[in-house]
Every structure is written in structure tokens, then in C-alpha cells.
Amino acid sequence: MSDRILSCSAALAEALHEEMSRDETIFILGEDLTAHAGIFGQFKGLPENFPGRIIDTPISETAILGVGLGSALTGMRPFVDLHFSDFVTCCMDELANQTAKIRYMFGGQVNIPMVIWCPDGGGLRAAAQHSQSLEAWFIHTPGLKVVVPSEPADVKGLIKSAIRDDDPVMVFQHKKLFARQGAVPENDFTIPLGRAAIKLEGKDVTLLSYGSGFYLCEEAVKGLGHLNIDAEVVDLRTLKPLDMDTVARSIKKTHRAVIVHEACLTGGFGAELTARIQDELFDYLDAPVKRVAAKDVPIPFSPPLEDYVLPKVSDVVEAARAVTYR
């Protein structure tokens, strides 16, 4: 079947449409969903097509997450919209102490087929409480899977996998990327969780990223080309489970790696990935693994400040230069 150009937002809606048509236990839960098809219009078409299966809630994140969980424990497949990923702080107990632990704690008696969908990221001048990238907290929370798609096709394929997965999956989708366009297959395809994609091949340095970081890398490749540095771009797509095989294959070729993410540097996912790379691939590395990330402050409002804090294409170029010129 042929590909069409869709936005990330439309890819999300299409994935949901296909899955909700297939399985009537799937429903969407969150604040302000029906009037405008989600506050970013991300569920276009769903309120009309699935009345009663896309449910507006009061502003009660704690209960929203808990309701998702309770419904998952009793036969439903909830897709919980957290409005802004920042508000995950308001249901952290339901997420980290309940959802993540219940299957294990109860000896595997029950499955929790639940998606927690979190619009995240900065660049929209939305300031400290509406711009975060919090995936690293959940990498460190056993019992959750973590998915961060970048391109529209990934959105569709990964959302469908996340919905079909019988475990809780957190999906972070960058708010600034909703409008990004890309080719998306028309058919009912899925992208398995835990499989990275080498999206651009190269031999001099491996750029490892996900979500908005992927686009920084994609752009950086051009700049690096001018410097005669041939970069390979790996889009991790799923952070847990992590596709270390693909990472290893690439680094065994390039011997150099730069990790790029929008979350702040200290304690970010880049730390974990660096730790694994230097442990598992020590003898293949010709340079330290470099991390490109946001600076360690909350996201400020003012444009020059926010631009300074968030990672830039030039940071990626710089880091790649540093490890290749070594």
C-alpha cells in the first residue's frame, strides 16, 4: 500500500482510529478531549466516531491515572491523555507506585494494558511548568515501558504497538512536532517496541537520539557533511525496552557516539545510554561518548533564554566534531 504525507498529529489519530475500530475495550480518558478533539486537536475525528469512548474528566490527574489503571485491571484498555507531560507530577503515585508495580507485586496475576500519553517538550515559550521532558524518571521506574516517537510513521506504528501491548507504556510526543509532516504507510502496520531505526547511514560517528532530538541530528548531518564528517543517525524510538543491538552495531562501525535529547543533561537518558555504551563497547570507543541536552535549569519563558537552554543543531555538530577530531 502506498504512503501518504501525514502530520504526527494525524498519524496519532489514525492509529487510534484503527485500533479503536478493531477493539472496543480501548477508550481515551483525559481533560478537554471532546470539544476540540484534544487540546492540540490531536484526536481529530475520534469524538464523532467513538462517542462514549473518548471521555472528558474533571481536573483530577490523580484520579485520571488511577481510573485508567482500575479500568485496565478489569478488562479495558485505557489510553490516558495527561494533557501536558508536566502534570505527571500530579499522578506520580498512581503511575510509579501503583501502575508500574501492581503486576509484579501481585506475582503476575494481572496484565495492565494501558497507554499513558504525554505531550511534552519545549520551544513553545510555555515556561517551566509546561515544557518539560521527563522520560528519564520513568526509565528509572521498573514496570513501565517508555516510547518517544519522532516521525509520523513512527508515531503511528509505535502508538499501535503501545496500545496492543499488555503492559503499561508511556508515550511522550513532542508538542512542537504535532504539525511535522512525513510519509506514513496506509496499511495496518506496527513498529515493535524496542526496535531502533538507523535513519541515516554514516561511518564516522553515531548520533543517538529520539523524539525532538532526532530532528536536531537530522539537521546536524548536513553541517557535519560540510566538515567531511559522515554521521550515522539512530532513532532509538523506544527507550525501554532499549535496542542495544542496533546501538552496538553502529558504534562498532563508527567508534564514536553522541547522544542527543531535549531533557536536561544531568540524570537524563543520555547518562544511562552512555553508561551502557562505555561498559559494553569500551574497546570499540575511540573517544568519550558526548551528550547534548538541555542545560540544567527549568525551562525559562523568554525566547532568548529558552533558546539558550534547549539543545541546538550547532551543539550536535560541535559534539560530533569533538569526538571525531580526537
Binding site: 474528566t57 488511577g66 506475582g107 496475576q109
Partner: protein
């Protein structure tokens, strides 16, 4: 005996089972045969059995750190419970949960919870699920007077109300949250009265009176089953033991505890009622205690003879597909 008499005897037997189970658990803990820490519900048996006697097997239940009684009242397997509390492989959760984390999804028991008031959002979700699946199941949530002050209660009750969910919220007001008296920490005396804030009917009951608890719960469960929405019930009761086994209990006097134990023991009160009504003879009573004791001894023996899990089983059960 009439059918009702037989039912009453069976409820009484369950109350005795809880009393004996908890007493035994306390002894086993004191003898250092149970790891970790445990919270006993002695004194609160009428609440557990009064409420759960109104439920079907496919109804849902969430409970608390003080949940043994609720589980037994909902029909949990004693062997698997004791084994779990011992940390054995044959326990409900293969030893992964322990006293504070037992569940039996085949009985609709969605789990005890180590987080105070953690069950309310979960049972609300079960309510949503019931409604979407269009069954006539009911969800019940036990929580304490201390739990009543957590924000989860507010959010869950508001949601249950606006969606008319088939839920019964049961407050077990035993007047203390760990060391903290209810009348210090809670801005109202009658916690059930907060249900007005959610347009939910609420009632307080003498929680040590089995028949009263059952009567009020029956109504609430019926209401829920008919799709008329949630209810709140406050069972006023008392815990005879400390918050946890080993609690120095400096926050209350012995005489206060003794007064409850001597004058307001729910098991004894129901026994007296049944005796007055000539349903329970002295012999039958002795027989019940004896049978319960035997059953529990078997459960303990089962648990003791069961193996511990193999260490590396710690890596199982996190995800449905182990490889992740």
C-alpha cells in the same frame, strides 16, 4: 435452621476466621516467623464481613495495609494468604507482595495497598470499566479515617458522582491513623458527611454491629447495581491492636482500648445476638472456633512446608513478556 440462619452462621464463621487469622498472624509475627511488618484488623471484623457479605464473587474490592479481614470476607484462600505473608512461593503473589500487597483477581480483589488511600482511584476505574462493559458488577473500596484526608478521596468521589459509578466507598473509622487521632487530623467528626460535597448519599453506622453494617451496605450495593450511583458508608469501629505489631501505642490509654475490647467486641456482639436468637448454640459456637482453628493450622502448615521462591524468580512477573 432457616436459610437466613445458615447465612448468619456462615458470616459469623467468617468473622471468627478473621479474628483467629489475625490473632495467629500476631503470634507468628511475635515469634519472628513473619518478615517485615503487619497491620491487624482485630476489632473490625463486623465491618469487613458486614460489607463483603453483600457482594458477589465478581464484584470488585480494593483494600488497604490493614486488609487481611477484607480479603477473607471476600473469600480469599487462607493457605495462599498465610503463605504470602510468610513470603513463600505458594502465596498469592509468589512471595513478592507480603502482608500489604495481596490480591486475588479471580475474586475481584484488586489488591491491598501500601499507599494510604491508594485504592480509591483504582476502584473508581473499576466503576468506569463496569459501566463501559455494561455489567451489573459493583466496586467496593475500604479506607481509613486517616486516608479520608488524602486528595485521592476528593478526586475519586467527585468522579464517581458525576459518572454515577457503581461504587460503595467504605470508611473504616477506627479513630486513629497510626499515632494520630481522628479528632486531631480530620476537620469533621462524621467523615461520611463529606459525601454531601459530591452529591453522594452517606451514612454512619455502628461499625461493630454486623447486622447494621450489612443492612446499610445492602442498600448501597443495590443502589449501585441498579445504576443509581455511588454511596458512602462510615463504619465507626476501633482497632484492638496497635497500628502495626510492635507499636508502643503512646497515643492512647490502655483503659480506652480495654473499654472497646470489653464492651464492644464485634465478634462477641454477633455471637450474643445469634445466641439470643437461638441460632448459635454453645456447642455450635465451640465447633466453629474449633473448625476455624483447624483450618488455620492447616494453612500455617501449608505455608511452613512451602518452599521459598528461588532467588532469581525475583526477575519474573514484571512484564507480560519476560524479555523486556
Amino acid at each position: 435452621m432457616t436459610n437466613q440462619d445458615q447465612d448468619y452462621i456462615s458470616y459469623y464463621r467468617t468473622m471468627v476466621t478473621i479474628r483467629k487469622f489475625e490473632t495467629l498472624a500476631g503470634e507468628l509475627f511475635a515469634a519472628a516467623r513473619i518478615p517485615g511488618f503487619i497491620h491487624l484488623s482485630i476489632g473490625q471484623e463486623a465491618s469487613a464481613v458486614g460489607v463483603c457479605s453483600c457482594l458477589r464473587k465478581d464484584d470488585y474490592l480494593t483494600t488497604t495495609h490493614r486488609g487481611h479481614g477484607h480479603m477473607i470476607a471476600k473469600g480469599a484462600d487462607l493457605k495462599k494468604m498465610v503463605a504470602e505473608i510468610f513470603g513463600k512461593k505458594t502465596g498469592y503473589c509468589k512471595g513478592k507482595g507480603g502482608s500489604m500487597h495481596i490480591a486475588d483477581f479471580s475474586l475481584g480483589i484488586l489488591g491491598a495497598n501500601g499507599v494510604v488511600a491508594g485504592g480509591l482511584p483504582i476502584v473508581t476505574g473499576a466503576g468506569v470499566s463496569i459501566k463501559m462493559r455494561k455489567t451489573d458488577q459493583v466496586g467496593v473500596c475500604f479506607f481509613g479515617d486517616g486516608a479520608a484526608n488524602r486528595g485521592t478521596v476528593h478526586e475519586a468521589m467527585n468522579m464517581a458522582s458525576i459518572w454515577k459509578l457503581p461504587i460503595v466507598f467504605v470508611i473504616e473509622n477506627n479513630h486513629y491513623a497510626s499515632t494520630t487521632p481522628q479528632n486531631y487530623a480530620c476537620s469533621v467528626n462524621d467523615i461520611y458527611s463529606r459525601s454531601a460535597s459530591y452529591n453522594i448519599p452517606g451514612t454512619a453506622v455502628d461499625g461493630n454491629n454486623f447486622l447494621k453494617v450489612r443492612e446499610v451496605t445492602l442498600k448501597a450495593v443495590q443502589r449501585a447495581r441498579k445504576g443509581e450511583g455511588p454511596s458512602v458508608i462510615e463504619n465507626k469501629t476501633y482497632r484492638f491492636r496497635g497500628h502495626f505489631e510492635g507499636d508502643p501505642q503512646k497515643y492512647r490509654t490502655e483503659s480506652e482500648v480495654d473499654a472497646w475490647k470489653n464492651k464492644n467486641d464485634p465478634v462477641k456482639r454477633f455471637a450474643d445476638y445469634l445466641a439470643r436468637k437461638k441460632i448459635l448454640t454453645k456447642e455450635l459456637n465451640q465447633q466453629i472456633w474449633h473448625e476455624v482453628e483447624t483450618e488455620l493450622k492447616k494453612a500455617v502448615a501449608f505455608a511452613e512446608q512451602s518452599p521459598y521462591p528461588e532467588p532469581q524468580e525475583a526477575l519474573d512477573d514484571l512484564f507480560t513478556i519476560p524479555s523486556c
